[in-house]
Assembly symmetry: D2
Homo-oligomer: 144 residues x 4
């Protein structure tokens, strides 16, 4: 699927796993490699909080979508589904223009749990957030 090491837009197609909410945000998928997963959203007015910067919920959403989609795509072949279990985000630096890019690396692929570390960077590659996402992996309902 994602196989260019710097695939930037469009060509990446997470096989229908892109959510309505991702579309509502405007998320672009860059890489679905579990060791270097990436997605990005361009700053636009709908995504700002009252001080004019990107709302923290946008960071959280990007990280959650990225880790969820890549986990789901990967465990699908084993007849399993992935559900977000917990997320933690530290907000380090505001983003006010350009884009925010989430990058994630899976650090633990257990039988029932995957744990991801992620970060959010701005267009100048500055670290804007650090995150951890825990995914529960379970047998697909019709196979449970």
């Amino acid at each position: 699927m994602a196989n260019g090491d710097e695939v930037k837009t469009g060509s990446v197609d997470p096989e229908g796993l892109t959510s309505n909410f991702d579309a509502h945000l405007g998320t672009e998928w860059l890489s679905l490699d579990p060791n270097d997963a990436r997605c990005r959203v361009a700053v636009r007015d709908e995504l700002r909080q009252p001080y004019g910067i990107l709302h923290g919920g946008v960071y959280s959403t990007l990280v959650e979508s990225l880790c969820s989609v890549v986990t789901a795509v990967t465990v699908y072949e084993e007849g399993k589904i992935a559900m977000g279990q917990a997320i933690e985000v530290s907000f380090l630096r505001p983003v006010s223009e350009g884009y925010a890019e989430a990058r994630a690396v899976v650090r633990h692929r257990g039988r029932t749990t995957w744990v991801w570390q992620a970060e959010v960077l701005d267009a100048e590659e500055r670290l804007c957030a650090l995150a951890k996402m825990t995914m529960a992996v379970r047998p697909a309902p019709d196979q449970a």
Copy 2:
């Protein structure tokens, strides 16, 4: 704005602090009381993730907006601003219809940090998420 029957503070008006992103989600403000803050979003298709349930990023956004707005409104009188520093959310139960309501209580009002506990419930009052939000409180830029 708020129109649910739990509305606590009559014409809740977060004084211009409602963000563009809150409007993009459709967040309704129910109470800005730091001991019982509440806001809500009705489930609609734009907010779903691929399995058809509410995207976890919606939960995170609701909690962050709620804690941020109430902290900001409260410390504004002291010439201070509030910035989200960290959020943690445990996802316990999916929401697929009705609405999701975030409820938050401030547990620590320090000089530089506020810490909130929050939860997200569905329309049947079932616990769907547990969260903690840490806000950094700082002097307003022109008073720093």
Copy 3:
């Protein structure tokens, strides 16, 4: 073992689940009620960090022991074991004398996951830490 006046369950005996590390700390068990679990450690010099206050690791250990023991005792009857999966602690106020008491309430008892909210108070009932503990619940090894 427990000797504080908040003792709820009389002869609290965590059925051999008290750990060596709890003994090394000096943990006293006050209540194993999942809706009001409590344990306590008296401040003594071995437990201090360099500034002279209780080391944050003591708070984390109290919370983890409390949630783990109560979960384990409760699911034991169902042929299951409990393993700590994640802990989060916010440190709000130092403890320098008297004791630190952890209090925890289980907020989610899922089939595979229990989620606890906990807090740590000092001898004057002041809030010193807020915590969340996630326990993985699994079939006991010989029953898996």
Copy 4:
């Protein structure tokens, strides 16, 4: 003090910052480099939980001591002190023999906050825990 072959800084001496509680655990300091901080504790019976493995509180304590000491040593020259603000640990794999080694990298050195990512490995270099530690940095009391 440190005697493992990973020792990076020769006679590592955290300048009196080693705590009583670290001594109670038996923590060995390996490196105080903020980009590759390390400390270790040998497994011994006092540190076990009821299932016989290292108590999770030991992991939390190692991570907290490591990040706290290195932050404190570094900001001391600027007339500042460091206090633990929050810790998050995901437990991935039990440690039952040998030692547990915490390794940490500072990812954000703000004026008032430092954020660390840390991990705990066993003697075979397997990942046993992932952690994040947030330190509050403040003017030293007599300089505030």
